[in-house]
């Protein structure tokens, strides 16, 4: 049964929303958080396991230093303070996918705490989101319920794959975010998109929401609007729902729309909102109740006695700080200015994930527009055909820049450049090498061009007459014939000049 609800806009008219987001980022370290098993997506079930991540009796965890490094870098990118000493804790609960029946996480001593992140909305508005903490933990395995509808209810049995068990995660928790009003859904979406962009820019995660590398839980509550002239912050927060596993940017907006409408309908009816976790259904774009707060488990956290505290030296933290890339949204704004792109051009470049290759191509000497033309045109098409991302193509930004410089110097024209690019993509060498090997250079030797023009004019004497009669545009037919004769390697402008010279007309 679908609960009664009002529209998002109506909900926003009557209530003041408060929200918070927990984002789980799966790190792309080579090995798992506490053992040496491979951390790779998509292997055969239970092939990336060992006594540690299977929780066999007697096994013990050892912290992956690379994961700590990634977590600290992420914390620094979120403006967090880095704790000098932080302990892991055990979060105790029974579940078949949790091999030890406790999860090693961080509780009262997260490594990264008290940060803030600027989120840039589509219209350029900048919103500062307070970050409460970013802490490390291990992922659980994955249950597959067999029979029935695929859920645990009605299943005949369940299978557990522990490959994901022990994969390193960083959980980023925001402070409660208030005052966003009807822009709440938009801000939530932009926040998660920013986190995704940051983890990609840091190179610590592939940031793929479709594969679960970035997952979000969305907390939302509504409170009454303060009477005009009174302080909204004086109104206490309402009871919140926590919608789990909202795993796409669109779904984040939709989930907030749904929850706001659902809660508003309840409150308007004088009914209470129950503090509970809720499940998001991608197909119906609705949430349904999970555990309520009353049934919530007591995780009995206590310091993990099998691990030493994480104690990064100040020197190391400062060294890592030096590796933090520019905030993606600010970088975009800066580049848009520097490159002179229109809003639309920049948005397309961002959407195509082409910012990094464009930067590298411009650094290698190409103009921003030329770089954009190549990567968003010919190369985007090739990448799409091959089903790979731009940075996976077998052409480097430096080669693209080199190709463009060959065009700019007049050695080749655009058409020849596309042929040269095919050669580069086919592994025939650098653009210059391909141009030389394939003999693609523009024919700029006047005597060769003059010969070709004379032959063409001789073949079409009527055209020469037309030109001499003042129909200069008739020269196009001769240009075409010369281009054909030279297999496109002639400089069309020069050919035209020669034709006009021969006809005794000024160009």
């Amino acid at each position: 049964m679908t609960a009664a609800r009002v529209s998002y806009d109506e909900a926003m008219e009557d209530f003041d929303p408060v929200f918070g987001i927990e984002v789980h980022v799966e790190l792309n370290t080579k090995t798992k958080m506490f053992c040496g098993c491979a951390n790779e997506f998509g292997a055969e079930p239970n092939t990336q396991v060992c006594p540690v991540c299977l929780g066999l009796p007697g096994s013990m965890p050892v912290t992956n230093e690379k994961a700590v490094e990634s977590a600290i870098r992420l914390g620094l990118a979120l403006g967090c303070s880095i704790r000098e000493s932080s302990r892991f804790a055990r979060k105790n609960y029974f579940y078949p996918d949790l091999a030890k029946d406790y999860q090693i996480s961080q509780y009262d001593e997260p490594t990264c705490y008290e940060g803030s992140l600027d989120v840039v909305l589509d219209d350029g508005t900048v919103v500062e989101i307070g970050i409460e903490r970013a802490h490390m933990e291990e992922d659980a395995g994955k249950n597959t319920h067999v029979g029935g509808s695929g859920g645990i209810q009605g299943a005949s049995h369940s299978l557990v794959d522990y490959n994901r068990g022990g994969v390193p995660l960083v959980e980023i928790v925001t402070k409660p975010i208030t005052g966003m009003g009807e822009r709440t859904a938009e801000v939530a979406r932009a926040y998660v998109a920013t986190i995704r962009d940051i983890v990609r820019a840091l190179g610590i995660s592939d940031g793929r929401m479709d594969q679960g590398s970035v997952r979000a839980d969305v907390n939302l509550s509504l409170r009454a609007k303060a009477p005009a002239g009174e302080d909204q912050d004086a109104v206490p927060f309402g009871k919140r729902s926590e919608t789990k596993n909202v795993n796409s940017l669109r779904a984040i907006e939709r989930a907030i729309h749904f929850e706001a409408g659902r809660q508003a309908a309840l409150l308007s009816d004088g009914k209470p909102v129950v503090q509970e976790t809720r499940h998001w259904h991608e197909d119906t774009e609705e949430t349904t109740p999970g555990r309520s707060k009353e049934e919530a488990e007591d995780y009995r956290y206590f310091p993990e006695p099998d691990l030493l505290p994480v104690e990064p030296s100040r020197e190391w933290v400062e060294e890592l700080r030096g590796t933090i890339p520019e905030h993606p949204a600010k970088q975009r704004a800066r580049l848009k200015d520097e490159w002179g792109f229109s809003d639309l051009e920049m948005r397309d470049v961002v959407a195509a994930d082409a910012v990094p290759v464009l930067i590298a191509t411009v650094e290698a000497g190409a103009t921003p527009q030329a770089a954009r033309k190549w990567w968003m045109g010919e190369l985007a098409r090739v990448a799409n055909d091959q089903g790979v991302s731009l940075d996976e193509l077998s052409v480097t930004p430096a080669e693209v820049a080199e190709l463009q410089s060959l065009v700019d110097s007049g050695r080749i024209n655009d058409k020849l450049a596309r042929q040269a690019l095919q050669g580069v993509l086919a592994g025939e060498g650098s653009p210059t090498a391909v141009v030389e090997a394939r003999g693609l250079e523009v024919v700029s030797d006047d005597s060769a061009l003059e010969k070709a023009v004379d032959e063409a004019l001789a073949a079409q004497p009527d055209v020469l007459q037309k030109i001499q009669d003042g129909k200069v545009q008739a020269a196009g037919a001769i240009v075409g014939a010369v281009m054909k004769a030279t297999r496109g390697q002639a400089d069309a402008g020069r050919v035209r000049e020669i034709i006009l010279q021969r006809a005794g007309v000024e160009g």
Partner: protein
């Protein structure tokens, strides 16, 4: 056929005889297997034997020795392993029915160390379930009996390892000590047991009871034998994050030095609260235990040691703190026994019911008692009052030790307040059972090393009394020096090891 009863020799003598070619490892191993077959029925020190594996190891050692291959010091000397240690291919239960039939697919670091030292592993010894107990009566497979008196407890949790030594079923054994599980069994069986400094021996592959207290250690019939095994077991292990990154202490050298009976310049501190000799700590101490302790102090003094009294006032709270920290950690460590991946499974129609039924059937009463205690102590709203306060006590105890070690090089006390009690006597009184560990628990809370060695038989019951020596963290060698000196002085009087005085066990058919 040899006429020598090799099972009566010390491990050091066995190692020397093997080297000299007076005996083969196969002969030694077979002699112990025969002894086990003859006496283990009533003693029940072993849960599982591996005659084929042990003899195979022995054969290879003999072959290599014959071929002139350089071998480790204890190569060919058999050893018994407490069932808490995961051994690849050998059943491992930690004394619990919930792990019945589990064959581990991997080796603990210590069992790998024993294999690298080329020591034949005779089998797995009995213990209280998950090392919870002081008598082995909480084993899921029936109690072990004390070879000195089969009606009495062999101590616990490592009663199997201690009894195997006392019954001459093995010359050496591995133990684990969370609150005294090596030292208390050593005390009541007239054997030697050492709990090393926390982190001195890798815990990887030791089934955890309370991770911040657990420490594996060596058990033997002499101080030197124990030192030799300690050096085989110990050392840094990258698989255990709490493992100390430092070399194994020079235990054997220290034992040799001690055997010269010169303790000049050594300051020995008597812990007032644990000595049984003062108004503060006299309660519950048996007269014969006090007497043997005092006599041992006189011997230390006679060898040149200076005896001082130290006070550790916070020890009063040690037992209470211990029984909050241990169950808390245990309740979490024992969660993994959920039937999903290994061990017992009592199949029900949902996974939740299956977990509940498996744990209800698989765990014994003491395990359940401690899981309940620990779950309660860690609960929201109680954590600070229980677990939090216990951690504060732990800090106070560490301070007491630090202050005491300012005044003395080693600290001493009786290992247990009494000689071994009768099986069944304290089974229904957990508190009385827990009190037995009052002198051993502080060392675990502070992470410092401790040893128990025999100091004689109590005149009133003729049963073994243990002498405990404690040293600062990392100073395990001091235990061996002082222990070997006291042992040398005592064995001179006894005309041999005290273990030789144990009554003859009836030999099976």
């Amino acid at each position: 056929m040899t006429t020598v009863d090799w099972t009566r020799k010390t491990a050091a003598q066995m190692a020397a005889a093997l080297k000299a070619g007076e005996v083969t490892s196969v002969e030694l191993t077979q002699a112990h297997l025969d002894r086990i077959a003859a006496v283990d029925g009533p003693v029940h020190a072993f849960l599982h034997l591996d005659p084929e594996g042990a003899l195979e190891t022995a054969r290879k050692v003999d072959e290599d020795r014959a071929a002139g291959v350089e071998l480790p010091a204890l190569a060919g000397v058999p050893v018994a392993v407490k069932d808490v240690l995961v051994t690849e291919g050998l059943p491992t239960t930690a004394g619990s029915r919930i792990l019945e039939g589990w064959i581990p697919p991997y080796d603990s670091t210590v069992s790998a160390n024993l294999k690298a030292a080329r020591m034949p592993i005779l089998g797995k010894t009995n213990m209280d379930e998950f090392a919870m107990g002081s008598s082995t009566e909480h084993s899921g497979y029936g109690p072990t009996h004390n070879p000195w008196d089969l009606d009495r407890i062999p101590g616990g949790s490592g009663g199997g390892s201690a009894a195997a030594l006392a019954a001459f079923e093995a010359p050496l054994a591995i133990g684990s000590d969370t609150g005294g599980s090596i030292r208390q069994p050593a005390s009541v069986t007239a054997t030697v047991g050492v709990k090393p400094t926390y982190g001195g021996v890798s815990r990887y592959g030791a089934i955890a009871l309370a991770s911040s207290l657990d420490q594996l250690g060596p058990c033997g019939r002499t101080v030197l034998d124990t030192a030799m095994l300690h050096e085989v077991m110990g050392g840094h292990d990258e698989k255990d994050a709490t493992s100390l990154d430092e070399p194994v202490p020079a235990c054997v050298d220290a034992a040799m030095q001690g055997a010269t009976k010169d303790l000049t310049g050594v300051k020995v501190g008597v812990i007032k609260e644990l000595s049984g000799s003062s108004d503060d700590g006299g309660e519950g101490y048996q007269a014969g235990v006090k007497q043997r302790f005092e006599e041992s102090l006189e011997r230390l003094k006679a060898m040149g040691a200076e005896i001082v009294e130290v006070s550790c006032p916070s020890f009063e709270y040690a037992l209470a703190a211990y029984y909050l920290i241990l169950p808390s950690e245990a309740s979490s460590n024992l969660a993994k026994f959920d039937s999903v991946r290994f061990g017992l499974r009592v199949e029900k129609d949902t996974v939740e019911k299956t977990m509940l039924a498996t744990r209800a059937e698989g765990f014994g009463d003491e395990a359940k008692r401690r899981i309940i205690l620990g779950t309660y102590a860690l609960s929201a709203g109680y954590y600070d009052a229980y677990y939090g306060s216990a951690q504060k006590v732990r800090t106070l105890i560490q301070r007491d030790f630090a202050a005491a070690f300012e005044q003395a090089d080693v600290l001493v006390s009786p290992t247990t307040p009494t000689t071994p009690f009768k099986l069944g006597e304290r089974l229904d009184d957990p508190l009385a059972m827990y009190l037995n560990d009052v002198a051993t628990i502080p060392a675990n809370l502070a992470g410092i090393p401790g040893m128990s060695l025999p100091s004689g038989l109590a005149p009133e019951d003729g049963l073994p009394v243990g002498f405990q020596i404690l040293a600062p963290a990392h100073e395990d060698a001091r235990l061996y020096r002082v222990g070997a000196a006291l042992e040398a002085s005592l064995t001179e009087e006894w005309g041999g090891a005290l273990s030789a005085q144990a009554p003859e066990l009836e030999v099976a058919g």
